[in-house]
């Protein structure tokens, strides 16, 4: 009896297959979800993967938020469905107002792909329970529009409520305010993360296995529920 985790494919999604692979390696059952179908197939959780949905036209994630599958996801997320948005997925979550703030163009203007050190700042959320507070991990970062921005009030609130789930270490790769790499909502079921844990699940192809924890956290919680 394993957890069924949906992975949404939008036109232009790129890391959906990698997310599915990571879910399998972590012991879950990946379920493919199509953007055009308002059907979540009874999954226990959802991953919005990285990529360039709709070519990043207009703004990253701006058009994806109107996809039929998203209206269902937004509704369920408000009711507690665990949702992990990675990179473009994070952008979609912000555009959908499931998370505060927005993602903007990297301050140095270039796309950047590097193995990024992060510090885990929250181990209560659905997707970070298998880490320990302050744990340092290295997972790939790859984006052109990864700068997290929000007004001072929101930033203060996020930190005060412990809703920042990870911060950049050893240098801020994209100009994100206060080095924020990922955040969660107050309930802890919706998490947005800029770097890519699904690329750090196999020694052969990634810089570490540090990314597995995001997936095992959700799977273990669901299986033991």
């Amino acid at each position: 009896m394993s957890a069924r985790i949906g992975v949404v494919t939008f036109p232009g999604s790129l890391d959906d297959r990698d997310a599915a692979r990571a879910i399998s390696i972590a012991g879950g059952e990946p379920v493919a979800l199509w953007h055009g179908d308002a059907d979540l197939k009874n999954v226990d959780a959802v991953v919005l993967p990285g990529g360039f949905s709709y070519g990043d036209y207009l703004r990253c994630g701006a058009i994806a938020k109107f996809a039929p599958v998203m209206s269902l996801i937004i509704e369920k997320a408000h009711q507690g469905l665990p949702v992990l948005g990675i990179c473009n997925g994070f952008q979609i979550l912000c555009e959908s107002h499931l998370l505060p703030g927005a993602l903007t163009r990297n301050d140095h203007q270039h796309f950047i792909c590097r193995d990024q050190k992060l510090r885990i700042e929250n181990t209560e959320s659905y997707w970070t329970r298998d880490y320990s507070m302050g744990q340092e991990i290295v997972i790939p970062l790859k984006n052109g529009e990864g700068g997290y921005v929000a007004d001072e009030k929101t930033l203060d609130q996020l930190f005060a409520e412990g809703r920042v789930i990870a911060t950049y270490q050893d240098g801020n790769p994209n100009g994100s305010y206060r080095d924020i790499a990922g955040i969660t909502n107050s309930r802890g079921n919706v998490v947005g993360l800029m770097p890519h844990p699904e690329h750090a699940v196999e020694a052969l192809t990634g810089p570490s296995l540090d990314g597995l924890g995001f997936f095992t956290s959700a799977i273990n919680t669901l299986v033991n529920a």
Partner: protein, 763 residues
């Protein structure tokens, strides 16, 4: 008033601007002979573009023939030269297709779009073979790094390669970055793509089956890339002449991503009889090639082509190079299912024609026949030139001007040698390429095993078995300038060697031949020599050329670029788990470091000579038998787990190879100069057929005995040691000790190595 076939018949004496379109008088006459009348303006446009150098290979054909004539016998080749890309059997029912192409001139004009559409074009070549594209590589060459025009072109090119490739979801697994004055004004942007398919999925570009439909799908057609053809539009009798047309193509990677998914889905559903991508010469090329490869006849209704710009004339539509378009041959029974899949992916698709048995390509425009030609004459029977060529008069003097000690003073003291190493490792050609490669996604698809700065790119093809392929691209154009015949062999040797160090077995070759003007007999000689060298080299090594690309006219006024025959070699590895990394690791303390192969005093065309502003002498000797032996030993060592690491020795010699290994490992080592070789020669000579290997002590005897038995010289030159810092005066740090000559910390090396490109290109 349209220039239809009947109009051409009735008005035989109309003056036509064939010269402006690049056709010679005898070629124009030949067209009239083929058709039995003067061509319509549409037919003239078609012939002019399809018979251009870029599309017809008229200056290179006679030389490229050698790749077929001298092809080594091999069972691995499933599809050879002639198709969009070569297809190689890699075992377990898998095949891979790969090819490299150039997009040089457009990248000079519009760096971002030129590079982006170069990537787009090569990716479409791969999917039109029925393969899923898996990775890209980009051999790039620019003028001097600090030249103002390089600062104009390079950032745009890199952003374009990254912008398009990243958005398609294709990892960039390697390439080259070379700076040389000879490319100023003529940057070289070559793009490679590799894809895989099951044997049964291989598709060819042919239009078979009378009555089958020709479906155009993808982006709408606009005025991209028309440029010179618009002179024709002004020649039509249409009163509303078009506005100025751009010569540049603009790419949309998102559309291409949808195109890839739709194409793979229709291919796997068995809905396609033949397929072709639209690249140079757009619809003209696709229709004439599909027709001539198939039944020989096709009827096209050009007015059905979906347009972005309604003011385009039929000539312009035929010539347009709008990106992200494909053409498929579909049976009437399958066309609905085909359309459904396109709709699912939001890709526009429309039937624009059908396959016929007339042996003619006929194109109608609103009911009037504007093209009626035998398609073979357009696509395959273009002019073939035997351009004159002769060895340049200055070649002898160039070869005689070797970088001897009298010409350039050689460093002898430890300090001088150390400084030379630092100068080299910080020089633009050898400095860290991270500024470029960090703009490329290397992780997407989750199958990248090796990427830059490793010697070769390697991707996993089968997640169950671990089957993978390795690809390297190389060319030392300075070697090719000194001796084009051997320079081409050396490019092949280096690429072959780079694949072998990873433990993969080299199987096949692709090439991108970048040269100056074929109208210059000296350039033509370089081309003739280089193709001869490459063909001879491939035969000797047993790896066939599967396809490639020629780019001529890379020159400004009378100054041609160095002859630059870029050679790509693809190899196969049965399990990527056992690939050989390039350097030692945290568990390697005490492991032994060997140099395989012989080091001689060879500095002609070397990086050392280059940073002293010198180009002359002869390139290092070629020894393909030795390269083959080295390759076999490296593959065997990998298969039997005998070695921890292996790195190719090339630019900058052993010193640079060691420095690269040390920086990547971030762990120190102690070295000594080989007996009977002057330190300067040992450190910086660029002799070929050499590699640096790291061997566990437990394997040393077995490995050295294998080398001795096979006749490969192997010299112990070092030992891995993470504890050298204290004694070397750098407590707590990782250091490299070179005998009594010099010591440096890896941090110091890294600082120099990583500073160069950001200092120039960060605004």
């Amino acid at each position: 008033m349209i220039d239809s076939v009947s109009h051409a018949e009735q008005q035989p004496d109309t003056q036509q601007p064939f010269a402006e379109l690049g056709l010679k008088p005898d070629e124009y006459d030949r067209i009239k002979e083929i058709l039995g009348r003067r061509p319509t303006s549409s037919e003239l446009a078609m012939y002019s573009v399809m018979w251009s150098e870029h599309c017809s290979y008229k200056s290179s054909k006679v030389h490229l023939r050698q790749f077929g004539e001298k092809a080594p016998k091999t069972d691995a080749l499933l599809v050879g030269i002639g198709e969009n890309a070569g297809v190689v059997d890699i075992g377990q029912g898998w095949a891979v297709t790969f090819k490299v192409e150039s997009h040089n001139h457009p990248s000079y004009v519009e760096p971002y779009q030129g590079a982006a559409t170069g990537v787009g074009g090569i990716v479409r070549d791969i999917i039109s073979m029925g393969a899923r594209p898996l990775a890209v590589m980009d051999p790039l060459r620019f003028g001097a790094a600090d030249a103002p025009d390089t600062r104009r072109v390079l950032p745009g090119v890199v952003a374009g390669v990254g912008g398009y490739g990243n958005c398609l979801g294709l990892p960039n697994i390697g390439g080259e970055l070379v700076f040389d004055d000879s490319y100023l004004g003529n940057p070289l942007v070559n793009a490679l793509c590799v894809g895989s398919m099951r044997h049964e999925d291989i598709h060819l570009a042919s239009a078979k089956g009378i009555g089958n439909l020709v479906v155009l799908y993808g982006a709408r057609t606009g005025g991209d890339g028309i440029g010179g053809v618009s002179v024709l539009a002004s020649e039509t009798f249409d009163a509303d002449g078009p506005a100025k047309r751009p010569s540049v193509q603009v790419g949309d990677p998102f559309m291409e991503k949808l195109l890839i998914e739709a194409t793979l889905e229709v291919l796997h559903a068995g809905l396609v009889e033949g397929i072709q991508d639209l690249g140079g010469a757009g619809i003209s090329c696709a229709t004439s090639e599909l027709a001539s490869n198939g039944e020989g006849g096709m009827h096209v209704w050009l007015d059905r082509v979906p347009l972005r710009d309604a003011s385009l004339s039929p000539e312009e539509i035929l010539m347009s190079e709008s990106q992200e378009r494909m053409c498929a041959i579909v049976t009437p029974q399958h066309v609905d299912a085909f359309m459904d899949i396109c709709k699912k992916w939001d890709v526009e698709a429309i039937v624009i024609g059908e396959v016929t048995n007339t042996g003619r390509l006929v194109v109608d425009w609103h009911g009037e026949e504007i093209v009626n030609v035998p398609p073979r004459t357009v696509a395959h029977e273009g002019p073939v030139y035997e351009r004159p060529y002769h060895r340049p008069e200055w070649q002898d003097a160039l070869q005689a001007n070797a970088p001897t000690p009298e010409v350039i003073t050689r460093p002898e003291s430890g300090d001088a040698l150390k400084q030379t190493l630092l100068d080299l490792i910080g020089s633009p050609n050898l400095a860290s390429k991270s500024w470029v490669t960090s703009q490329y996604d290397r992780y997407v698809l989750g199958n990248t095993i090796l990427a830059q700065p490793e010697d070769t790119g390697m991707i996993r093809i089968d997640e169950e078995s671990g089957l993978g392929v390795a690809i390297a691209t190389d060319c030392n154009a300075r070697f090719a300038k000194l001796d084009p015949y051997n320079g081409a062999k050396l490019a092949l040797a280096e690429s072959y060697r780079n694949v072998s160090v990873s433990g993969a077995i080299p199987l096949a070759v692709t090439n991108c031949l970048n040269f100056g003007s074929p109208e210059d007999p000296e350039v033509m000689w370089q081309f003739a020599e280089a193709t001869r060298g490459l063909a001879d080299g491939c035969l000797e090594l047993g790896v066939p050329v599967t396809g490639g690309n020629v780019s001529f006219y890379n020159q400004t006024a009378d100054t041609a670029i160095h002859p630059t025959p870029v050679v790509g070699v693809l190899g196969v590895i049965d399990d990527v788990e056992r690939r050989t990394p390039m350097t030692w690791n945290a568990d390697s303390d005490g492991e032994l470091i060997y140099v395989l192969g012989d080091t001689l005093d060879e500095f002609g065309g070397s990086e050392w000579a280059h940073i002293h502003g010198h180009l002359g002498g002869l390139p290092p000797r070629v020894d393909l038998q030795r390269e083959k032996l080295l390759s076999e030993i490296l593959v065997a060592a990998s298969r039997d787990g005998m070695i921890t690491a292996a790195h190719d020795v090339s630019d900058g010699g052993i010193a640079i190879a060691i420095a690269e290994m040390a920086m990547r490992a971030n762990i120190g080592a102690r070295f000594w100069v080989q007996d009977d070789i002057a330190p300067f020669v040992f450190l910086f000579s660029e002799s070929t057929a050499r590699a640096v290997v790291v061997i566990p002590r437990s394997e040393e005897l077995r490995f050295t005995e294998m080398c001795a038995a096979r006749g490969l010289p192997a010299y112990r030159v070092g030992v891995v040691d993470s504890g050298l810092g204290a004694d070397a005066g750098h407590p707590g740090e990782q250091v490299i000790v070179m005998g009594e000559l010099f010591t440096f910390t890896i941090d110091q090396l890294r600082q120099v190595h990583e500073a160069t490109l950001p200092a120039i290109f960060n605004t």
